[in-house]
Symmetry: C2
């Protein structure tokens, strides 16, 4: 598991990116951090159901697919769930 | 700005979703939280450059576009930046 930099306000958080594919079932959250003064690259940090956090390569096709999967999964729920949000 | 539930381990974090469009320049991060035992809906939480956090509607077309924008922005950097990652 690649390390995550704790000094995330002033530097890149991802020191290395995970190359192994994360199965969607293992995914709890996925965070996209835009590039900026603190870091020249967009960073993608996945939170796993185990509680671990791993950095993913934003240039990987499967990482983009994973993000789309989470978005589209919600879309599919649109007709399946009652609307309980404002 | 809609409130965010602090008890995020056992309940939905988003009590309301922001309907106003967030300009990409105001966006620092965007987090997708998959649904699960704690919450029946996928939640999308945007971190703004001001430090505020707002919940977005995962069913909104512009929210999906915003996620894609962050992903594709990185893609466009692929040829512009030297590779400095493992």
């Amino acid at each position: 598991i690649p390390p995550i930099n704790r000094d995330y306000n002033t530097r890149c958080q991802c020191l290395k990116v995970e190359s192994r594919i994360i199965p969607p079932d293992n995914l709890k959250s996925i965070k996209l951090v835009t590039e900026g003064a603190h870091c020249p690259e967009t960073e993608i940090i996945a939170g796993l159901v185990t509680g671990e956090k791993v950095c993913l390569n934003p240039r990987s096709a499967w990482v983009k697919k994973l993000v789309h999967f989470v978005l589209e999964k919600q879309l599919n729920q649109q007709n399946a769930l009652p609307k309980n949000q404002a």
